[in-house]
Amino acid sequence: MTDRMFARLKPDELDELAEASYRRRRREDLARTFQSTRYATSTRRAFMPRRPMFLLATAAVAAVAAGAVVVSTGVLSGGPAGNTPPVAADSSSAPQSTTGGTGASPATRMDARSFLLAAADTALRETATSGEYWYVRQRTTHPTSHLPEKFWTEARKLQHQEQAEVDKTGAQDDELVAINEKYNKKLEQLRKSIYPDGPPYKAYVVESEERWRPKRMGGTHRAKSEDRKVVFPSPQDEAKWKEQGSPKLLEDGPKSVDDNLPRPLSISNMDITMQNVGELPKSKKALAGRLRAQFAKLPDPHKEFDLYLWQTTVDLMTAPTTPGTRAATFQILADQPGIISNGEVEDAAGRKGVSLAVKSDDGYEFRLIVNKDTAELLEYSVAEKGEDTVRVTFEEFGWTDKLGRRP
């Protein structure tokens, strides 16, 4: 009885103020948070000093840091061994790996530019469509690994030390980042000390995902995970894994999740939503201006425009943007000196497309494969020091009017 009286003492204004703050701060808070390093310690995620920001594959990209993994024949390609060139092999043998980031040879530069300008024209010829749900089906491949309990015990110790240091220092952003970087280095050393010669075996998680994004604000969003499995590049890797006691390599996750949380379409562009993505500028100049302004606002001190643009391209090309916006995006990309072409390749589904790549200052290479005939994005991948870390293949996207139904 006293409790019920007390419950009613909660001032209404508290909820009103909280709601107002929530609405005002959400976008900025999320953007700022996602720019900061995450201290991942789950058994299949590890530490990455700096990670690209993808909406769709962050878990995968984070998982990658678990270890240096060399891509072996056929695994990432998804096709019969040797049938399609593995991405990592591309980067170690293709000429662009010796030309470096912005110093691309004139020939590959020209290829990328002319291809992108042609893709812009192609994109413009497509007709704008609409529906209730934007559907995307993708297949993701990323390395997985297991670290022994010894590692996690030590990692937890480091983590407590870090927390203590953070608490002592206060909550200034700069200090937080410096402390975080320091401990990320320590963790990296710890990880290396566990497997000085690299992990004893290689393994990948391959999984499909279907996603329905509601056009209507507050509509139901569904993400459905399917066909998750662990793949070993060779029988030797699998034997080694068994020798280690067959540790669990696949996290249990829900198969299908429905909710109605508002979601941004692009982490680097928190203001782009399902409601306004169709209203983005259709001219190169206007879109470039908007993206430049957004880039200027990003708080990341290590930000690189090439990289931001690459991420934004992936987000826009897999979202219900208008043909005009897609064309403008290709035109903006065409002007970037850092983007090079690796010529015609096959994606993991065996579809032909033109490969485009950009390198970051810290040794990552980001790749896109674009369909020549439709200018659609077929696949993107990220490689670190020539080794593939994630590969996402877009098998289908388009509008549908019913949740759970494909276009």
């Binding site: 209404d12 103020l17 996602f34 962050t58």
Partner: protein, 183 residues
Amino acid sequence: MDDPQERFTGLYDRYYRNVLGYVLLRVEQGVAEDVCSETFLVAWRRLDELPEQVLPWLLGVARNKLAKQREVRFRRKDLVERIAALTSEQEHVAWDVAEYVVDREQAISALRALPEKDVEAMILVSWYGLTPDQAATVMGCSARAFNVRLHRARKRLHGRLRQEAGAAQRPVRQTSSRFAEES
């Protein structure tokens, strides 16, 4: 599927208002928002080790952050004064407490007589729906200590409310308030 950013966004959307509300009981809005953002930043950095019950954990982090800010350290009265200040005129309605009727002002006056930690204990259980175990985590004490505190808080509050009601010499009656107690 299990995208960290989505998972975090889910937590943020679900709990931001709760955490901010709790912090707002201690500091004004601008500072409260900063404390709240920092709290969620910690959650992001600890995303893989969050306990199953996230709200008590978040409130605990927020509480620690508040405690570390010397300028927002508050005296016992402040918590109740914040409640009083946040209360609007329309909320000044009457309740029946056992055979007595008290209004909001009297209720707040009764709260003033309680140790702050008692009030906080009741807030965590009553406003945030935390179990004693969870609330103990937030307040950094054992579940046993928390239960003792909560029990004492209820008893004291009940006693104070009787006094308040008695002091106002309200007649015993069946209330017509829409907030009437059923018991």
